[in-house]
Amino acid sequence: MDYILSIVILACINMIAVLGLSIFTGFTGLFSLGHAAFVAVGAYTSAILTYYYYVPFYLALAAGGVAAGLVSLVIGVPTLRAKLRSDYFAIAILGFGEALRVILENLEITNGARGLPGIDGFTTLPVVLVCLAGGVLVARNFLRSRWGAACIAIREDPVAAEMAGVRLFRTRLLSLAVSAVYCGLSGGLLAHFLSFIQPVMFTLVQSTQLLAAVIAGGMGSISGPLIASFVFIALPEALRVAQMWRLVAYGLLLVLIMVYRPQGLMGYSEISAFFRKNGNPEGRSRS
């Protein structure tokens, strides 16, 4: 039972990070290979705050999210202002993520590559579920707001969106910061669940897993990536498939999805569309 519980908790923690990346990649259309870095910032910030400074858990969790959001500005401001092509941006954020990991491996306070053991395990199922539910609610409202509409417009056509008065730089930066806050929050929960963190946990592989969930779930859907990430985390664990074969499957899946179903599992629609009587199954966000 404990084993199943821990899988559910891990899956939910992962879902929060995927939700964040979904806002950035799925809805704003920018491809990121560095979001694991924001998870790392959140994890280390909240862990260090409770570990060395005895800050209350919830405050530390929030601080982790805020820290990740601020760090995202460091890479976001110069690269998004320069309006890099989508793959240049992906390479830039990839480099940023790797550089940040090297820095974490060499800082005194993070205990270097050895990692930080003995973090208090505050993360329980109710805490995670509340965070996830809150996250979904906030994401939904954000995407239905003026800002969310601007994000979707940018994904569909940046030039047309700019002509229509959407401020590219500000909207993209906001979307990046919001997604980073989600990842930071997820990192804080992760640190206080595993009670041990190490820089190797936040490599490119982790970024790829997040991205795989978003793409497999569907760009422009909230529920699709959540389902995909749950399936990706929970199923292989339950089937006891070794970590490496899971990654083999991830890679193959990414290629197959791009070749056969580039819109992903849910396309541009939400799971609720299937339950609505007169609902349009193609969804409304396709505009």
């Binding site: 259309g29 491809f31 290979l33 890479i75 110069p78 690269t79 202002r81 320069a82 309006k83 890099l84 092509r85 989508s86 793959d87 240049y88 992906a90 390479i91 830039a92 990839l94 480099g95 940023f96 790797e98 550089a99 090297v102 820095i103 491996e105 060499n106 940046p158 030039v159 490119l204 592989v205 790829t208 991205l211 795989a212 793409i215 070794a242 490496m244 074969w245 990654l247 083999v248 991830y250 890679g251 193959l252 899946l253 990414l254 290629v255 791009m258 070749v259 580039p262």
Partner: protein
């Protein structure tokens, strides 16, 4: 000391340049970042390793074998993962995700089947050194640098002097026009991937000899992206210049500043170039087309 650092830097830079050339070739024709290039380099190194240890072939045959092996792998990779996307003119983002998937797939397939062990090549060059002035440099370093120069020069001649080379350059400037003029695009792109794969094979063998062979060694190609960006994406002389600059700068940073901060420095350099000079030193216009 200074001269020795410079030559070590140039030899590492030569290997970076070999990797960056393969990457730039694909970028210049298909206009997307082929993240699977690193995995092809890694597989090339494994092919070379198998030839060297299982069949105990000499250096020349090992090199030839891994060039052929990596070239074929690159062509198959294009056929399976990119060609259908290319035909439906999918956005380059899709190609990039597909490439990313290939990288993860190939790397972990090796991990799951061959294992995560580190393998060493037999010592082809021993520990021979050449003394220049008061400093001594290893034969491998000098050889790698000279070989990289020769290979890239050869590629340059091929691209500028032969009919196929002219077709490739035509494809770079306008794919549609090129196919209207009677060039078989599928064949052309296969040739490009074959060339890129061949260079990946060379880079893989040199990397394997200089360091070790292991499943994630392809991530060294992060350095190839940086080199390609510094030199200008899609430009062959740029890839050479970028590789050499990066290799030399990195070696100097690690020997005079700190070896730990070398990677941080390289990535910062990458971001600085992307922000201030996305066209690189020798690249052409890189604005997103409307």
């Amino acid at each position: 000391m200074f001269l020795q650092t410079l030559i070590t830097g140039l030899s590492i830079g030569g290997i970076y340049a070999l990797m960056a050339v393969g990457y730039s070739l694909v970028f210049s024709v298909l206009n997307f970042s082929n993240f699977a290039h690193g995995a092809v380099i890694m597989l090339g190194a494994y092919v070379g390793l198998a030839l060297a240890t299982k069949f105990s072939l000499g250096f020349g045959l090992v090199l030839a074998g891994s060039i052929a092996g990596a070239g074929i792998i690159a062509v198959l990779n294009e056929r399976l993962a990119y060609s259908s996307l290319r035909r439906r003119k999918a956005p380059s983002l899709y190609l990039m995700i597909s490439a990313m998937g290939c990288a993860v797939f190939l790397e972990n397939l090796v991990y799951a089947t061959i294992g995560s062990r580190f393998y060493a090549f037999p010592e082809f060059f021993g520990r021979q050194v050449i003394s220049i002035g008061r400093s001594s440099v290893s034969l491998l370093d000098v050889g790698a640098f000279l070989f990289a120069l020769a290979a890239i020069l050869g590629l340059h001649l091929f691209i500028t002097r032969t009919r196929t080379g002219i077709a490739i350059r035509a494809g770079v400037s306008d794919m549609t026009m090129c196919s209207l003029m009677g060039v078989d695009l599928d064949r052309l792109i296969s040739i490009v991937f074959l060339l890129a794969g061949g260079f990946a094979g060379v880079a893989g063998v040199f990397l394997g000899i200089k360091y070790l062979v292991y499943p994630t060694m392809g991530w060294v190609t992060n350095k190839a992206y940086i080199a390609a960006v510094i030199g200008g994406l899609g430009s062959l002389p740029g890839a050479l210049a970028g590789g050499l600059v990066l290799g030399v700068v990195e070696t100097f940073v690690s020997s005079y500043v700190s070896s730990v901060m070398r990677d941080v420095f390289s990535f910062t350099l990458l971001i600085a170039f992307l922000v201030w000079r996305p066209n690189g030193l020798l690249g052409q216009d890189s604005e997103e087309k409307v």
